[in-house]
Assembly symmetry: C2
Homo-oligomer: 409 residues x 2
């Protein structure tokens, strides 16, 4: 599979933007045309999941429908409509010896993607890699193997029908752990691994991979309510960041509150949180003000609840807030609520995270919300890409250098 992917990547790199876009549109049609077959395969996965006692929530993530397949197809059409990042000139350098150096955007090559039960990732990840000129090897979860295979085969057949190399997308069929580990060591063929899923999956890939990895998705996001916060902004932002969707990486998990505002602010916040059934884990100072507050432990501050739970830490200074957040956060998304410009700038500069907000919800950390049109994940590391990763973040660059006989002294 590695060798086939390498051959496919060189062919894919020669496809024009038009060829790639027509391919994506054709595949979108094919997915809709094969709705029945894909749903049949999905039924096999669902029956197996029910038999093994999977929770309803997870079965819902696994379940496809004609509508969900139509959305997958729309996703492909959307990626087709995005500008092609490949070939963009990033820099030109003219050297005194007459060498002209051009820095150009190029595909990365072969990308490996690990993902868990959502079968729609199969089509999404393919589309982003294909448009950015990268061959992709997919390794989905065993729960969704029949669905993933049906989607991959539909895409591959459509590619062949367009006389395109079907090996630009391959799915690893084996679902055992040995195969997964072997995949992580295929550095000879694969240029980048992106794990998409829970912390367990991401840690396993980070520990075992000899291929460069982009760490995505873990978000222990904070909102700091400064002493100069406008409470009319603070409360809707906190409620939105905590409760609009609870299972996502850009949801707020912890509040940091300045002591000078806590007596006025916390009772109002408490009412709003109770309306949304949020369970609060507060430190000593906040627990004295809040009703029915669970005492926060050290562990609470480090937790990504992904649930209707929120920890609260109180601080005497903005410096203490920044130090607390830099200690416990996962470098994802952090916000300050303040009307004080100096404090806002201090927070923006000193917080170590991909996305730092002033007076806005942390939920905006998302490729679509940033206007990238699509997203393969949200990077929480600092190498290569940080924050939402769209098409450009799936590219590398090369230098092409024009000479007329230059040699080095």
């Amino acid at each position: 599979m590695g060798k086939l992917a390498v051959t496919a990547k060189y062919e894919l790199q020669k496809y024009s933007t038009e060829v790639k876009n027509n391919g994506l549109l054709g595949i979108a049609d094919a997915l809709v045309a094969h709705t029945h077959e894909i749903l049949m395969s999905n039924q096999i996965d669902i029956r197996e999941a029910e038999r093994s006692g999977m929770s309803e929530g997870l079965i819902d993530r696994l379940t496809l429908s004609a509508d969900r397949i139509a959305s997958m197809a729309e996703g492909l059409q959307q990626v087709a409509s995005l500008p092609d990042p490949i070939g963009e000139i990033l820099d030109r350098i003219d050297r005194p010896n007459g060498l002209r150096i051009i820095k150009k955007r190029v595909p990365i090559g072969v990308i490996g993607i690990f993902y868990e039960s959502r079968p729609n990732v199969t089509a999404d990840a393919f589309a982003l890699c294909f448009k950015s000129g990268n061959a992709v090897i997919l390794k989905g979860g065993s729960d969704a193997i029949h669905s993933n295979l049906a989607i991959t085969n539909t895409i591959r057949d459509a590619l062949s029908a367009y006389h395109l190399n079907p090996d630009v997308v391959q799915l690893i069929e084996s679902t055992d752990r040995e195969t997964a580990t072997a995949f992580m060591k295929m550095d000879q063929y694969v240029d980048l691994l992106i794990p998409r899923g829970g912390a367990g999956l991401i840690q396993a890939v980070l520990r075992n991979s000899t291929i460069p990895v982009i760490e995505t998705g873990t978000g222990n996001c904070h909102i700091y309510v400064d002493e100069y916060a406008d409470m009319e902004k603070a409360i809707p932002i906190i409620i939105n960041s905590k409760t609009q969707r609870i299972g996502v990486c850009n949801a707020c998990e912890s509040l940091v509150v300045h002591r000078k505002i806590m007596e006025r602010f916390l009772p109002r916040l408490d009412t709003a949180l109770k309306e949304k059934h949020v369970e609060v884990h507060g430190d000593v100072a906040s627990a004295a003000i809040l009703q029915d507050c669970i005492p926060a432990t050290e562990e609470d501050f480090g937790r990504e609840y992904l649930d209707l739970k929120l920890s609260i830490k109180t601080v005497d200074t903005i410096e203490e807030a920044i130090a607390h957040i830099n200690q416990y956060n996962t470098k994802h998304s952090e916000a300050i609520i303040t009307e004080n410009k100096e404090n806002a700038e201090k927070f923006l500069n000193e917080i170590d995270a991909a996305c730092v907000y002033v007076n806005a919800a942390t939920r905006f950390t998302d490729g679509f919300m940033f206007g990238f049109g699509a997203e393969i994940g949200i990077s929480t590391q600092k190498i290569h890409a940080r924050g939402p990763m769209g098409l450009k973040e799936l590219t590398s660059y090369k230098y092409t250098i024009y000479g007329n006989g230059q040699t080095r002294d």
Copy 2:
């Protein structure tokens, strides 16, 4: 050390450009002022190396002199004179909901550097990391431990004298393998590892590290002599790329020659190579033309000789040349010699390497030659940075987002 580096990185990120530059200039003076002590420590390493039977070439790399220390100091002054990359605005995005997203260049954080016997890397690597706002943990070779310690201590003392946090640079004193392996697993504190040295060191770091690694330095570089080559350009470029310095990663190790030009070209080349005492390993077709040519094996084409040796492969088409190079190269630097523009563009587009040249020596792949003013290494992978890495390549970015109460629907 990891914790100290993290504390130091947050302080370092607050230093202004002026503070950083004054620090670098002060350290340059301190290195010169402490020449005697540094040379005394270097003598200990040299005596130890002589005792253990180290080769003269390696002892030369290890040996410092007043001149070499003065060059180190000059290196620091040069880095001080380069523009500060930190804080640069890379993009501004205004969203329909009023969010203003600003993408800003920031330091990576803590960088770990593994290197082998050259003690001057201690000062060079520190300077580049410091100027780009990164704390650095250095792990040099055991051969140079006394020299590296003397240089590091001089730098740390000078930092303290300037009221700067000395922990922005730390040297790991222990030289055993367990410490090295433990360092590679410090992903909680270290954001990036850069190994500088031979293939053995680089592979060990790639295999064992749980920290993102930038692979540097291996260069099996090719020059392709196209059927439309100008021989007046080809011969000086080949001789320069092969012989101007043989132990470097951007030296040419292999020629690919079009069969249509080989009868005219190879005899002339042969004469030029013999003058420089280059040993040629040719395939069957080239060996029939060259004098005293050693038959090339499959292994020759994959070898980075770092010696006065050159392999030659003949091809019938440019496509065959490109396929051969993409199979055997290390994605470093490749060149085509041709007067045909179409072939030049085809080669530039289809060769998979950091730097692809038309009619110029591969020896130009170098941060100084590219005008970056300095270089920490040459990346041969596609993630984060490719080719020569200067100050900008030691940075990441963050998004700072300005709102006025935005929440997500």
